[in-house]
Structures are given as structure tokens and as C-alpha cells.
Symmetry: C2
Subunit: 211 residues, 2 copies
């Protein structure tokens, strides 16, 4: 049944293997991380590795590769312990993707990619004005994963900006109606169509649609 044994994966050309393995984790979040350097320079980076860590306290995590285009973001996180997480929406996913280009450190990705900075009283890191759903994190831990040298960052939410009309009565966030996109692989962007929300699963009865 398997069409790739491990030795075959290891023998693949680097770029082919990167595309293949990046596709296997399924659909991923598309967010822009906003940070500011100690000198006050804004920075934006797109990542697809954000994941839920916990709701109480509200914790969010993501992985970063230290020697890639996100090295400025990682330094800012270490220096300031602050960032914003901004959902990428369908009307600016091309601009968001462009934030992954390797700009000179003195160039703001906001300006170079056509996005707009936004501030709040609580977050010193810049928000993306064009983003509908966004929040600020105070970094709680940055740890290096020995297996491959990536850095695991976990932060707690300090404030949330999310239109009331996309939050349901039970707290469900309709990120689809907000226009949030999903990523597949390294460069695939997708809009979504909700199949269903399903009821809480119980052993004795099959789930039913709750929307």
C-alpha cells in the first residue's frame, strides 16, 4: 500500500520533498505576525504553523525556523515579548504571501506589500488594519526543539479584535464568513465552504448538524 517508504522520502530532491511533506499536515492557518524591533521598526511575516494550545489561559503557539526570512521576527519576539496575530483574508492573500519575500531589514513589509499598520493602547506590536480577526500575544516561552532546531513560541492573548457579527451565541467564531483563508503546502491558498458544525459527540448517538 505505501507508495513512499522512508528511504524513498529521504532520496527525493529537496524542493520536491519540501512541497510533499508540507502538504501532509493538512489545511493550515494563514496569519501574519506583526512585531516591532527595539528601535521601533515594524515587521510582518506570514506563517502557517499557528495552533491552539489552550483556552484558559488563552494560549496560542507557532513554530519558526531561525535561519530563514523570519529571523527578524524571531529576534523581535525575543527582544520585546510581543506580537500580533492577524488572520489573512481572501482580499489580501497575495499581499500577505509577498511578506515572505526576503526584504532588507530596514524595509517595512507593511509598505513594501501594501498593507497598513494599526495600533492599540495595549499592544506595542503593530496590527494589520486590513485584517478582520486579530489579537495580541505576550510571549510566554520560546524553546528550541532539539530534533531539528526550530523554535517553538507560545504566547498568551492579551486583547482580541473580532467583529461581534462573526461570533455566535455560543462563542463560535465564523472565520469563514470573516473571509479567513486556509493554506495547503507552502503556497496553496483556499477559501472554504462550511459542511456543518457537528454536535458534541456521545457514544450512544451519531452527531447531528447544529447550524
Amino acid at each position: 500500500m505505501p507508495n513512499f517508504e522512508r528511504s524513498q522520502i529521504d532520496a527525493l530532491p529537496q524542493r520536491y520533498r519540501a512541497n510533499l511533506i508540507n502538504g501532509l499536515s493538512g489545511f493550515k492557518s494563514a496569519v501574519l505576525i506583526g512585531t516591532r524591533s527595539l528601535e521601533g521598526k515594524p515587521n510582518l511575516a506570514i506563517i502557517s504553523s499557528v495552533f491552539h494550545v489552550g483556552a484558559n489561559p488563552p494560549l496560542v503557539g507557532f513554530l519558526m525556523r531561525p535561519h530563514t526570512v523570519v529571523r527578524d521576527t524571531l529576534q523581535n519576539l525575543k527582544d520585546t515579548s510581543q506580537c500580533t496575530i492577524n488572520h489573512v483574508h481572501r482580499d489580501f492573500f497575495v499581499e500577505a504571501h509577498q511578506c515572505s519575500a526576503r526584504f532588507d531589514p530596514d524595509i517595512s513589509e507593511f509598505e513594501a506589500c501594501g498593507l497598513t499598520e494599526q495600533q492599540t493602547a495595549i499592544s506595542q506590536a503593530p496590527y494589520v488594519n486590513e485584517s478582520v480577526i486579530k489579537y495580541a500575544l505576550r510571549i510566554q516561552s520560546i524553546q528550541r526543539l532539539e530534533l531539528n532546531g526550530t523554535e517553538l513560541v507560545i504566547g498568551e492573548i492579551t486583547e482580541l479584535c473580532c467583529p461581534n457579527e462573526v461570533i455566535g451565541e455560543d462563542g463560535f467564531v465564523d472565520i469563514e464568513s470573516a473571509g479567513t483563508v486556509a493554506i495547503s503546502g507552502l503556497d496553496g491558498y483556499h477559501s472554504t465552504t462550511r459542511l456543518a458544525r457537528l454536535s458534541y459527540a456521545r457514544p450512544d448517538v451519531f452527531p447531528s448538524k447544529i447550524d
Copy 2:
């Protein structure tokens, strides 16, 4: 601008807060984890926290909450260091969701939820026959995150089962055409429509569609 400051989030009712915070990480992967106990009993659990860790070596990570319905899965991972990751597709997302019900430990989620076990020579953990894209992991590390007691599991891919027709010339996996679904929040299931694959970003030129 913010409509939730941190103190307001902390004051929310538990279920409302769980829905709200789980929606903020964006679209998530929908996969079933297959494991086997030391006594040989199969187990299936649905999770939405799988994320890409690295392509060389091919590493995949996920988070588990130790005191929830996945406690049997976590024990099996610790006992056997093996699991399978099976993409959830649109034609069995209800059955997959049902795997989150709290069945008695001696009940197989495969049987209870109407899914079929599949074996390979390499993996002792069971695959889901209905899944189109699936792979086996050898667990490399399980570590407790001190911030909230969740367990971070990282495994390396030992074999991959993925139809050749969904793999592009450059290794891109068309998980959309394979029928893989995305999750939002705790219980939202979504099919997808590809907006574009975008070219590798360079500072001097805006990305173009490559599909």
C-alpha cells in the same frame, strides 16, 4: 478597537471561551490518529492540532490534552512509539467527529464509528482504510508544556500512502482534490476551493499564480 481585553476573556463562561479561543488559530487540519495498545487493541482519535515541523527529516507534531478523551491514545503513543495520521475527507467527516465520543476503553472507535482498519508491513498502528492520504509516525519526543500541562508529541514519518494523482510534478500535494477537510473551532468542518498557488515571493516582483 479591541472588543475583548484579557480580563473580559477570563470572565467569559467556560464553554463560550473554549469556542471563542479555539476559533482564533484559524483553519486547522482534520486528522484521525490511529494507535494500538500493548494488548493489541486499536484506537482512533480525531485531532485538529497537527502541524508541520520539518521536511528533512520529515517531522510532524501535535498537541494532546492528557486528561481528556485522548488519554488512551496518549498512553498508546508512550507504550508503542507508533501511530498513523489519516486525513479526514468530506465523505466521512461525521464518522471522524464521532471518534471524539468518550467510548469505553474496550470499544474500538473503528467499529463504533463505522470506519475500517488497514495494516501495512511497516506500521503496527492501524490505518483508516477510508482515508486517501495517510502516513505512519515513529514518535521521537513527548514533552509536557509547563504552561498548561498539554503534551507536545513529535514523530518522524516512516511511510506515506498518497495517491500519485494528487501529487504534482513539483511535489505539491493537492489535498483539496483528495477531499481533505479543514476544521474551524471545536466542531466546524469545511471543504475548500483553491484561490491560487502563488509563486515564490521575491522583493522586486509581486507573486503570480502558478496553477
